[in-house]
């Protein structure tokens, strides 16, 4: 009797979870569209910038590169490996197919 009761309970829970999951899927789609509309709005677009001070305050003391690139630009980072001089090599490759990439050096003395 206990097992049957537990079975009934579990089925009810799973039904609720299924409803919740569908609700989350719907909300996610809705929110993604909302974000797209907000970012594409011309007024919002005009004010969507940060200052150099904003960025520098987030990464105190570091050398910073700000990269702006067209949608679809590919950034590749190989696994770091030792160079011939025994020093580790770190690399970033950027490849665009639809427009130039802009890189700005910030906060370098």
């Amino acid at each position: 009797k206990e097992v049957i009761e537990k079975l009934r309970h579990l089925k009810a829970e799973i039904e609720e979870l299924e409803l919740k999951e569908k609700e989350l899927d719907q909300q996610k789609l809705w929110l993604q569209q909302s974000i797209k509309n907000v970012m594409d709005d011309s007024v919002n677009n005009r004010f969507s910038y940060v200052s150099h001070e904003d960025i520098c305050s987030c990464f105190k003391g570091d050398t910073l590169l700000a990269i702006q690139a067209p949608s679809g630009t590919q950034l590749e980072v190989p696994i770091p490996e030792l160079g011939q001089n025994g020093q580790k090599k770190y690399q970033i490759t950027l490849r665009s197919r639809s427009g130039p990439i802009h890189v700005l050096l910030i906060n370098k003395d």
Partner: protein, 155 residues
């Protein structure tokens, strides 16, 4: 009993999926809040300063930031059409997208770390659809969904 066990596993799988989807939804909410808050801040600043800042002192979204130590030597090769770049660093670096930068600037009111004042919570809620305000309240207290609502009673 076997069916019970199967259903229990099914329940765990669904709960895990819901947890991930809820986290994705919360991340999207943070993006919307951070972006709208930034736009409002810039609008207010331009009104106060009676003009836009110099173009060469700002960076438009979207962007990504690569940060590395001041001592790092960076070697950069660029193709003539600027479609390809190659950077070599002699030290480690990190990469962050613009939303991460906005979070670090405080544009998402500390919601991502569950530390949000009541006033900031009110402001954050005003930047999202009303139907999703509940998620903002959860984030502000860092509370887990599993402890609330539909699963509380059955547990």
């Amino acid at each position: 009993a076997q069916e019970c066990q199967n259903l229990e596993m099914e329940k765990q799988r669904r709960m895990e999926r819901i947890k991930q989807k809820r986290a994705q939804l919360q991340e999207l909410l943070l993006q919307q809040i951070a972006f709208k808050n930034l736009v409002q801040r810039n609008q207010q600043n331009e009104q106060q300063n009676q003009g836009a800042p110099a173009l060469n002192s700002t960076i438009k979204l979207p962007f990504i930031i690569v940060n590395t130590s001041k001592r790092t030597v960076i070697d950069c090769s660029i193709s003539s059409d600027k479609f390809e770049y190659l950077f070599n660093f002699d030290n480690a670096f990190e990469i962050h997208d613009d939303i991460e930068v906005l979070k670090r600037m405080g544009m998402s009111f500390g919601l991502e770390s569950g530390k949000c004042s009541p006033e900031d919570l009110r402001l954050a809620k005003s930047l999202v659809p009303k139907a999703l305000e509940g998620y903002i309240t959860d984030m502000s207290t860092g509370s887990s969904w599993v402890n609330q609502g539909l699963l509380c009673n059955s547990a």
